[in-house]
């Protein structure tokens, strides 16, 4: 699924999400629900800043995977999966778990168009059952 389609599905599924933008580690916008490119770039830049500042707060090896900021008149969500990120703004008091789930789904769905086979490691194959085991 391409980025535009994944974002269109996201806004169709979640009525709480007002705007969303997909961007990379450098802050370059891959796609957005906003028609104004400057607004999309502004959202991506601010979201990248939020992620970087959150990362700076913890010195341990663990890295930030997602951030939620609840403000009086809305909320901001940022989810990271490797080098790819998605940020979204929502109405006030959204269903946090649902928004995170939808954003992760969007990130995963759109990943196919950018990185075809990197995110899913190959599962180990199960050894075929021997006939002797069945008979025992």
């Amino acid at each position: 699924m391409d980025v535009a389609q994944a974002l269109a599905d996201l806004t169709e599924i979640s009525t709480q999400i007002e705007a969303a933008v997909l961007f990379d580690a450098d802050g370059a916008v891959e796609g957005s629900t906003l028609s104004d490119e400057r607004a999309a770039a502004g959202l991506a830049t601010a979201a990248a800043q939020l992620l970087d500042r959150a990362e700076a707060l913890r010195s341990a090896e663990s890295s930030v995977t997602q951030v939620e900021a609840a403000l009086g008149d809305g909320a901001v969500f940022v989810v990271r999966d490797g080098a790819r990120r998605i940020a979204a703004t929502t109405v006030a008091n959204p269903t946090v778990g649902l928004v995170f789930y939808d954003l992760k789904s969007c990130l995963r769905d759109s990943a196919g168009s950018v990185q075809p086979e990197e995110s899913q490691p190959e599962k180990p194959k199960r050894a075929p059952r021997r006939k002797a085991d069945d008979e025992a």
Binding site: L34, G42, A47, T65, A69, A70, G74
Partner: protein, 68 residues
């Protein structure tokens, strides 16, 4: 006697439930940021905490950019 205790217990429960509903409905919610880590940890920063300032500023910028 038993009926009186039950009535008193019901009254107290009602008062408690009412206060919870009232606080949820009318209590002022403070801005906050919740940061989730890949080890399963989560830290919540409430407005007023020293670390919350820079995070909330970036979040306000993001919301403003999207609604411009």
């Amino acid at each position: 006697m038993k009926r009186r205790v039950l009535a008193l217990l019901g009254f107290a429960t009602g008062i408690f439930a009412g206060s919870v509903v009232f606080r949820r409905q009318f209590g002022k919610r403070r801005d906050r940021v919740e940061v989730y880590f890949d080890d399963g940890g989560m830290i919540s920063y409430v407005d007023g905490a020293p670390e919350a300032g820079t995070l909330l500023d970036a979040a306000r910028d993001a919301l403003q950019a999207a609604r411009r």
